[in-house]
């Protein structure tokens, strides 16, 4: 009982403790203190070294531009898709096409996109058929110095996320009524939606948007695959310094990590200013009363972009699949000359051990997160706690503080504590990121459960524990398994926590896949990235299958 009462506090400790400790662990070496290297005098040397790095201005500009650019694009597209199509059949089709793509790991989606847009990728091959090219065009498309392919990769992955968060927030706003009212006053569909629904929707998805912005600015795995190299984005450069055999570079890495944090905060501040400006302009736009009835081109554009985005991931995964079974595959040919299982036979056995570790880490991290989340929600229910807006901010904190800003510090602490390179350290780090997603996924169904079931149970003499185990959990089996699948997918996709806390000694499918980014072994990449995707998909399949089997004779739970 008293343990349950402490569940929320314990959960915050498990989730935010490492974030704060990691930030502290970054702060000290950034100011020159690293006892392990015999540095105990604080100083600004790491920062002057960082400033002296010639690539710095460009790396900073890249981080800002790719982060802000991809977030703005993904958000604008999501909103235009909803504005133009919400409530139509086409919208449901898009929704169904985009939602499952959320679980595709970032690295696999990035590799898939690379296989499409590379000079020798599927798009160039299709063009070659039409234009009669015999050799791949001499263009630097992948890892282009402007970060355009990186932005594209981030947009196609963040679009499903923002769409899903929007879909979760929409029903409570009754968008159908607003839209019908606006249209009866003569407004075009898109303008009506943007003027009546969007202003109420945005505050609901603000935190997810901030998480997307912070993530896009500091992402490492996607940037390693699609981002520029010389110089790379700041986050990638920090990782390079962290991995350098010269331990003195850790100080510069810490300074860079701190700069990344400041950059992110700055970008969030800039975004906030942008929000205010848009609100002001938007109010004027709404009050001007323009009906904007001719939105057909805009609607076509948004639908096309949404479909293209879904197609990019689906075709990308297909390209990964084809490469994984390709024999010889010369340039302009659309398909390989021959198909062979050789790559799978050769790579498969080597992937077994990382696959097992991936599963172990995902299951334990998700199990820990689920237990904590259930304890929090049950404590909320039993003690009548009311979740505040601030609690939601705390939940999003691990998703907004850049991983690269606090994980290096956490690694240094793990090193000092002698737990670095252990699977336990990796699992603890994964819990930080799995927990918010499990909570967000389970909270609504848990809180939405009809409380009268509990009253009936108690009136029949059942204790709170019996009601929890015998009524609430079985009835919430489906959302619980979905939350677990979300948690597993998040864990499977984690790159930086695995790499840094695992100290290179814990290998998962994701670290294996991303490690292939610098080489050109397409067949190996195909096999590894597909295995990674499968690992993220499998839990979702089980989350659909298990309730269908367990409750196959229970009609009342079919649509719950």
């Amino acid at each position: 009982m008293s343990l349950l009462r402490r569940a929320p506090a314990l959960t915050l400790l498990v989730m935010l403790g490492p974030v704060l400790a990691g930030l502290a662990g970054t702060l000290l070496p950034a100011f020159g203190i690293m006892p392990a290297l015999g540095r105990v005098e604080p100083g600004l040397m790491p920062f002057s070294e960082l400033a002296a790095w010639p690539g710095l201005p460009r790396a900073v500009a890249l981080s800002l531009a790719t982060g802000l650019g991809s977030t703005l694009l993904a958000l604008a597209l999501t909103m235009l898709i909803c504005a133009g199509w919400q409530g139509t059949r086409a919208f449901r089709w898009l929704e169904r096409a985009l939602s499952p793509l959320l679980s595709v790991p970032h690295a696999a989606a990035a590799f898939g996109l690379a296989f499409l847009i590379a000079p020798s990728g599927w798009i160039a091959r299709a063009l070659a058929q039409l234009l009669g090219w015999e050799r791949p065009p001499d263009l630097l498309i992948l890892q282009d110095p402007w970060g355009l392919s990186l932005i594209a990769g981030l947009v196609v992955k963040e679009l499903p996320f923002l769409l899903l968060m929007t879909l979760a927030a929409l029903p409570a706003l009754r968008p159908g009524q607003s839209l019908a009212t606006a249209r009866s006053l003569g407004y075009g569909r898109s303008a009506g939606w943007l003027k009546t629904v969007f202003p109420r929707l945005y505050p609901q998805i603000r935190l997810p948007v901030y998480a997307v912005l912070a993530f896009s600015m500091s992402v490492v795995d996607v940037a390693l695959i699609l981002g520029p190299n010389t110089p790379p984005t700041l986050a990638v450069q920090v990782l390079r310094w962290m991995n350098d055999p010269d331990l003195a570079l850790r100080l510069r890495a810490a300074a860079g990590a701190l700069l990344q944090l400041v950059l992110t905060l700055g970008a969030l501040g800039l975004w906030r200013l942008g929000e205010m400006a848009v609100a002001r302009i938007g109010r004027a736009w709404i009050e001007a009363g323009g009906r904007a009835r001719h939105d057909a081109p805009l609607r076509a554009l948004s639908f096309g972009a949404g479909a293209l985005s879904a197609l990019a991931i689906i075709l990308g995964l297909t390209a990964l699949g084809v490469w994984s079974v390709a024999g010889f595959w010369g340039f302009p040919a659309l398909l390989p000359d021959a198909f062979t299982a050789k790559s799978w036979m050769k790579q498969g056995p080597q992937l077994l051990s990382p696959a097992a570790d991936t599963a172990l880490i995902a299951l334990v991290a998700t199990g820990v997160a689920l237990a904590l989340v259930l304890a929090c929600l049950e404590a909320e229910h039993r003690f009548g706690l009311r979740p505040s807006a601030r609690a939601l901010w705390l939940l999003y904190l691990p998703l907004i503080v850049p991983q690269i800003a606090f994980l290096p510090g956490l690694q240094i602490l793990a090193l000092v504590g002698g737990v670095d390179g252990t699977i336990t350290a990796v699992i603890a780090a994964h819990v930080i990121f799995v927990l918010p997603y499990v909570f967000l996924s389970l909270a609504d169904p848990y809180r939405g459960w009809d409380r009268r079931n509990a009253i009936v149970g108690h009136a029949l003499g059942a204790s709170p524990a019996r009601v929890f185990w015998r009524l609430r959990l079985p009835m919430l089996l489906r959302p619980m398994l979905t939350a677990m699948a979300v948690g597993c997918a998040v864990s499977v996709g984690q790159f930086l926590p695995t790499l840094l806390l695992g100290g290179g000694r814990v290998q998962t499918l994701t670290t294996e896949a991303v490690a292939l980014a610098s080489g050109g072994a397409r067949r190996v990449i195909g096999v590894t990235a597909l295995a990674q995707t499968a690992a993220a998909f499998l839990p979702f399949a089980l989350a659909l299958l298990i309730p269908a089997l367990v409750w196959r004779n229970r009609k009342g739970l079919k649509h719950g």
Binding site: I455, L460, G461, A462, R470, N553, K555, G556
Partner: protein, 212 residues
């Protein structure tokens, strides 16, 4: 006067405002009907008696069951059965499983419990329904299972929260009679909350009107 359900100067307040004030006694086998429009605090009164009152409300007075003060007891130790407008059969358990969830644990042994459930099903005309999915039952059948589930828990009082309003006119009278007959047979004090005058007449006991 010790037997039955006694509400001793019960008063429920929300933020200083009095929602419900009631002083009443329901003898075993009798029915007390509480009527009033929605928002008059009927459901709040039932929540208070079952022990599921939202902490935002303040409760004063006492709830006595057969002379025992249960005001401070948690719901599961009061032994007060309640039937809602919705049957609230647990969708993951079979019909038999629902009854078994209710059946008092003092009856031990798998075979004995199963026998008790089978005979209970027989009493409500649902013989052989034990393994059925509750979602496949008709409205009247569900209502009968919900009633039996409550009775099998061996309650000391029965609360009815507009339990007949969802049923169609034909079933309504039938189920109503069954509930009152069963309650009378087990000598249960019954508190019925309704906004339907016909229910109140059928109950035949005293009627209290709550103001809006």
């Amino acid at each position: 006067m010790a037997d039955g359900l006694r509400l001793d100067t019960l008063e429920i307040r929300l933020g200083g405002r009095c929602m419900v004030a009631l002083d009443a006694h329901v003898a075993p086998g009798e029915v007390l009907t509480v009527m009033g429009p929605s928002g008059s605090g009927k459901s709040t009164l039932l929540a208070a008696i079952t022990g599921a009152l939202d902490p935002a409300f303040a409760l004063s007075g006492r709830i006595l069951l057969d002379g025992e003060d249960v005001t401070a007891l948690p719901t599961e130790r009061r032994r007060i059965g309640i039937l809602f407008q919705d049957e609230l059969l647990f969708p993951h358990l079979s019909v038999g499983g629902n009854l078994a969830f209710g059946l008092t644990p003092s009856l031990r042994g798998r075979a004995a419990r199963r026998k008790r459930i089978d005979s209970a099903l027989q009493q409500i005309g649902l013989e052989g329904f034990a393994s059925r999915d509750p979602a496949t039952l008709s409205g009247g059948q569900k209502a009968r299972v919900a009633l039996m589930r409550t009775l099998l828990a061996d309650p000391r009082a029965l609360l009815l929260d507009e339990p007949f309003s969802r049923l169609d006119a034909a079933r309504r009278g039938q189920i109503r009679e069954l509930v009152f007959a069963r309650a009378k047979a087990q000598r249960l004090p019954v508190l019925l909350v309704t906004h339907d005058r016909e229910d109140a007449c059928a109950a035949g006991g005293a009627v209290i009107e709550l103001g809006a």
